[in-house]
């Protein structure tokens, strides 16, 4: 009799615990598609500092962080050159030439296997937004009409773009 009593208590506890399960918002169904939101280009009004630009471009190209000391030194390189755009170009070229670590750039075969995915991924990676239909079409044409157009050169243009200087 005592055993039956114990089983009954345990059973009721189990029932209670299932009934008390917290309902997550994600569980609710609104019958609309889930959409990931991105900022638009028009909201990027603040200029990145030289250090911020270095930190971000390194992370975007190598998928790992640069040390604070190296960020400082790379920033000094930009400061020491009059044409800042040229300085950034040389730094990107230097990163592209790195053998350790290697820059994380898709192969040209991967890029051409799914061009739309490559374009979307590149916009998200560098500009933290989705391309407009016009932008997508421009890069589709660039890649389709130019067999030698490489992912590296496309990455280079994104890293050097004015939009990439702002957040």
């Amino acid at each position: 009799m005592k055993k039956i009593h114990t089983y009954l208590v345990l059973f009721s506890l189990c029932l209670v615990s299932f009934q008390c399960k917290k309902e997550n918002l994600e569980d609710m169904v609104f019958e609309i598609n889930e959409v990931k939101l991105y900022p638009s280009a028009s909201s990027k009004l603040k200029e990145k500092t030289e250090s911020q630009w270095i930190a971000v471009v390194y992370t975007n190209l190598f998928q790992q962080a640069l040390s604070a000391g190296d960020i400082y030194k790379a920033g000094q390189c930009i400061t020491s050159i009059g044409d800042k755009e040229l300085a950034r170009e040389v730094i990107i070229s230097n990163f592209m030439n790195s053998t350790s670590p290697l820059p994380a750039i898709p192969t040209d075969t991967d890029m051409r296997a799914d061009i739309d995915k490559f374009i979307n991924d590149t916009y998200e990676r560098f500009l933290i937004r989705r391309p407009t239909e016009g932008e997508k079409q421009y890069f589709r044409n660039e890649i389709n009409n130019n067999p030698t157009r490489s992912a590296e050169i496309i990455y280079f243009s994104f890293a050097l773009s004015n939009e990439y200087l702002f957040y």
Binding site: S40, A41, S42, K44, L45, E47, D70, K73, A74, Q76, C77, T79, S80, I81, G82, D83, K84, E85, L86, E89, V90, I91, S93, N94, M96, N97, S98, T132, G134, E135, Y138, F139, E142, N146, T148, R149, I153, I154, F156, S157, F158, L160, S161, N162, E163, L165, F166
Partner: protein, 454 residues
């Protein structure tokens, strides 16, 4: 029909006439009105604050140390700048040279000092007492009392005047700095909305660009094929830029307007410099530290780009705040570096030899009275820069079309003495834009080309 054609043609002609001035090179509206006196100018900011007593007055230790410590051995006069100035060297208590205790003066490079080739304005009025204010006064032709440190000059620099009004290319104008400190990397253009970066000069701070930092982040830059790789890269970048500009109200920052060809030349130059550095063949005066290295890289720039204007900042003598012996050595070493530079231009850069005018002037002077700091080596008193003596500087000029007047503007400093801001308008005068600079309204009211004072 004829009337319609006439209206069409007339409209196109008017539009063309309105647009044409804007499509001239470098954004300038009209051709410069003046003629060039020489195609190249080298302006040395012999900076760091120099007292006339130790430079053009050639008083060595007599009015710096002997006045405060009347030991007979300190009552020594003499010239410690044998490449720039005429005059006998100190006969005793030699500490400004190299070797043990600095007792060996560096042998002069020039057989005839620049003073004996050109013009020395002995008493020139420095209109700012600090390094940044003093240095950018030389570039702006004016001083701005509201100018803070670590901010771009408020009014246009000589580089911007030259590029906007003279149509000079970006690679025609160079600033070579010696340090990232004291706002030095801000000298190459102003923040003025009508001028600014797009008319700015190219710049290197060689100690950083080609130093350890450059070794790590610039040296191994990949050289892309200009047509097959860089051209499409720029094309895609411009597409992205246009796309961004159409979506934002943001003011896109201007950059120094190097053309793609100029950029390629600069990148190739940088690559060569890293190779020369590795091989130990970068041009360098035989003696001296950072100032000598800065002058050496400036010569490399001159050799490659043959700029219309090259401005070089050196400031070793600023050690005078706490080390007078070091100050004397830095003055002497800078004299050696400048002598080497002038000789190199005349003998190793054929395009600039006999076609260049050289101007040297300090950013400011230094105090008449010392501060309490004694240096370790000789117990010499140190000097800051804030009193009336700080206004006393000199300007030395030589080169193409400059006659020899070795003792100009002598006597006590007065309201009619030349200003150190005259350097900017003098450069403008030499390169053919004097009137445009005067008309701009940005110059000091008394600023005048030194060539007009000869």
């Amino acid at each position: 029909m004829k009337r319609r054609e006439f209206i069409k043609k007339a409209t196109l002609t008017s539009a063309g006439a309105m647009i044409a001035p804007y499509i001239l090179p470098s954004g300038r509206l009209f051709a410069p009105t003046g003629t060039q006196i020489a195609p190249h100018v080298v302006l040395v900011m012999y900076a760091g604050g120099l007292r006339n007593q130790e430079t053009v007055d050639q008083l060595y230790l007599s009015q710096s140390q002997h006045t405060w410590n009347p030991t007979p051995s300190l009552n020594v006069t003499g010239n410690i700048m044998p490449n720039l100035l005429s005059g006998a060297a100190p006969s005793s208590k030699v500490v400004y040279g190299v070797g043990t205790s600095g007792n060996t003066p560096i042998s002069p490079i020039l057989s005839t000092p620049i003073q004996s080739q050109g013009v020395l304005f002995k008493e020139v009025n420095a209109i700012a007492a600090g390094h940044y204010g003093g240095s950018i006064a030389l570039l702006q032709g004016n001083t701005n009392l509201a100018q803070p440190l670590l901010e771009r000059p408020k009014t246009p620099t000589i580089f911007e005047f030259l590029r906007k009004h003279g149509g000079y290319k970006a690679t025609d104008t160079w600033f070579i700095g010696n340090s990232l400190t004291n706002s030095v990397p801000l000298y190459n253009h102003s923040a003025h909305e009508d001028y600014g970066a797009k008319y700015g000069a190219n710049m290197f701070i060689p100690g950083v660009t080609f130093g350890n930092q450059g070794d790590q982040f610039l040296k191994d830059a990949k050289i892309y094929h200009p047509q097959n790789e860089l051209s499409p890269m720029y094309k895609m970048k411009y597409f992205l830029d246009n796309s961004y500009e159409s979506l934002t109200s943001n003011n896109i920052l201007d950059t120094v307007g190097n053309t793609e060809a100029e950029k390629q030349q600069i990148k190739n130059f940088m690559k060569t410099m890293f190779q020369k550095k590795q091989a130990g063949t970068v041009i360098r005066p035989p003696q001296g530290g950072n100032d000598a290295s800065t002058v050496g890289y400036a010569l490399e720039v001159m050799k490659e780009f043959k700029p219309a204007v090259t401005v070089i900042k050196i400031d070793g003598p600023d050690v005078c705040h706490s080390n007078f012996t070091g100050y004397l050595r830095a003055i002497h070493a800078a004299d050696h570096a400048i002598g080497y530079m002038w000789n190199y231009i005349q003998t190793q850069i054929p395009d600039m030899a006999n076609e260049t005018i050289f101007i040297a002037t300090p950013d400011c002077g230094r105090n008449l009275n010392p501060n309490p700091i004694l240096d370790n080596e000789n117990n010499f008193r140190a000097f800051d820069h804030s009193d009336a003596n700080t206004r006393r500087v000199f300007t030395l000029m030589a080169g193409k079309s400059i006659g020899n007047e070795p003792d100009k503007a002598t006597g006590p400093l007065s309201s009619t003495s030349p200003l150190n801001t005259d350097a900017a308008i003098t450069v403008g005068h030499i390169l053919g834009i004097e009137q445009e600079m005067l008309n701009s309204g940005f110059l000091h009211s008394q600023s005048q080309s030194l060539i007009r004072k000869l």
